[in-house]
């Protein structure tokens, strides 16, 4: 079959067009991809900014929580103990030696209790710094403080917790734990708290379980204390993880946090 020059013409025009369209589309694709790259970089920068802001906020919250605890303890325990010591010492009459000895012993006892309380407070203040040394240490310290009240039996277990750490994530996890414990203290009326911290396959898992009154998880956002849970979820998402909450009235509550770690 003989091909005419006209047909060759058309063929070449078409092939040339296809060959010119190819780099044209490539150019458009690269331009589009580059724009997406820009958007991605901007989003990444925004996320980093949000993360940094959240870390700062968390640090302030941890500090605030510490200060509140210190304030409450100074007012409720140490203040009371010192007042009692002062009253006891004021009521001593030198003439009655036996009674005076008894009162001095009581004052000494109150004083040693006061020193013990102050030591615990000192540890609490140090606890804020402990996060930098390790999450497990900071949690242990927090538990000591919870147990001090004598209302809760706390069981704390750690499993495969690596030495490799991420200070920022530790702070956020610690704050989440504080928030969960605050909820238990304020609303759960629990007697037993089980805390489990484990790390495997580059995933950190924190489970906090209580035997309190529980609640309907669907109703939480409408209630005031839903804000705490909202913060917990937001912070978990910020770390690329998630939070699961299982609870029903009368069966206690289980909060499970899973995040990539370190």
């Amino acid at each position: 079959m003989q091909i005419s020059p006209k047909e060759i013409n058309t063929l070449i025009v078409l092939i040339t067009l296809v060959f010119l369209l190819a780099p044209g589309f490539l150019l458009l694709y690269i331009n589009l991809y580059n724009r997406r790259k820009k958007k991605h970089i901007e989003e990444k920068a925004l996320m980093q900014q949000t993360f940094a802001a959240e870390i700062l906020k968390t640090q302030l919250e941890v500090q605030e929580q510490t200060m509140q605890t210190i304030g409450a303890d100074l007012h409720d325990n140490i203040g009371q103990l010192l007042s009692l010591t002062s009253l006891t010492l004021n009521s001593i009459e030198i003439s009655e030696v036996n009674k005076a000895r008894q009162k001095i012993d009581t004052a000494l006892d109150l004083n040693s209790r006061c020193i013990k309380e102050l030591r615990l407070l000192g540890k609490l203040l140090q606890g804020e710094q402990l996060i930098k040394n390790g999450l497990t240490e900071a949690i242990s310290n927090e538990i000591t403080w919870i147990e001090k009240a004598g209302q809760y039996q706390v069981d704390y277990q750690t499993e495969n917790f690596s030495t490799e750490s991420n200070v920022d994530k530790d702070l956020l996890v610690f704050r989440i734990l504080q928030e969960v414990l605050n909820n238990i203290v304020k609303h759960a009326f629990a007697t037993q708290i089980n805390i489990k911290l484990c790390c495997r396959d580059k995933q950190l898992q924190l489970i906090v379980e209580d035997n309190g009154v529980g609640f309907l998880t669907d109703e939480v956002p409408q209630k005031q204390h839903g804000m705490g849970l909202h913060n917990i979820r937001k912070r978990a998402e910020l770390m690329g993880g998630e939070v699961g909450i299982r609870s029903e009235p009368g069966t206690g509550t289980l909060v499970e946090l899973n995040i990539p770690y370190p």
């Binding site: 020059p5 070449i12 060959f19 780099p23 044209g24 690269i30 580059n34 790259k37």
Partner: protein, 216 residues
């Protein structure tokens, strides 16, 4: 005779003027060498016009021009690719292949017959360089404002040219021998791809100038 070539020589001279204005004070020799390359292009184009009607035709002019064309283009690609990889080493096998093919074609059919095989293979090699550059550009995590990025426009122009000219190269035999009516058609295609090439290059020189000025 001059009429059919005028658009080509016009865009080439405009591009040369752009190169002189925007690249003469460039701090990179590779970019600066574009002035020399464009001067060679203009001289070749004029020589091509002047020798077209001679006994031996003008194919030998374009065959000689192949050497600076491949040389300058390879050096430029080597320079641009060196931002991401060992670009200069990468273009060496291409250059070696060019010399082998060039000598082979001279041996087979002399200097007066156009070196279709060398031109086609080199077009494919330059397309590969261009596509590889695009790939590295996409892979790069850093954002670059392509609108004012000189290397991107230079590579794009080159890519358009070699993509378009490959068709012409492949059909060159038909154009040249069987159907002389199509000979001028080949030039129309070349005019189109030349306009694209030199527009992109001129714009890349402008981008280069702006970039230099903003640094200063």
């Amino acid at each position: 005779m001059l009429k059919s070539f005028s658009p080509n020589i016009t865009v080439e001279i405009i591009c040369l003027i752009f190169a002189i204005i925007f690249l003469s004070k460039d701090n990179q020799t590779t970019w600066k060498s574009m002035i020399l390359f464009l001067l060679v292009i203009c001289i070749t184009e004029i020589a091509g016009i002047l020798t077209k009607r001679t006994v031996n035709g003008n194919n030998w002019v374009y065959n000689i021009y192949l050497m600076p064309e491949v040389g300058f283009t390879s050096i430029m690609f080597g320079h641009l690719l060196s931002k991401y990889t060992k670009g200069k080493v990468l273009v060496l096998p291409g250059l070696a292949l060019f010399f082998v093919l060039y000598l082979y074609e001279i041996y087979c059919h002399g200097i007066y017959s156009f070196h279709v095989l060398t031109t086609t293979v080199m077009s494919i090699i330059f397309i590969s360089y261009g596509l590889y550059y695009y790939y590295l550009l996409i892979k790069d995590e850093h954002y670059i404002n392509l609108k004012s990025y000189a290397p991107f426009w230079w590579v794009s122009g080159t890519l358009f040219f070699y993509f378009g000219s490959t068709v012409s190269n492949l059909f060159f035999t038909i154009f040249n021998t069987e159907h002389s009516i199509l000979f001028s058609f080949r030039h129309l295609i070349y005019i189109l791809i030349n306009i694209i090439l030199y527009s992109f290059w001129s714009y890349s020189f402008l981008c280069r100038y702006r970039q230099r000025k903003s640094i200063l």
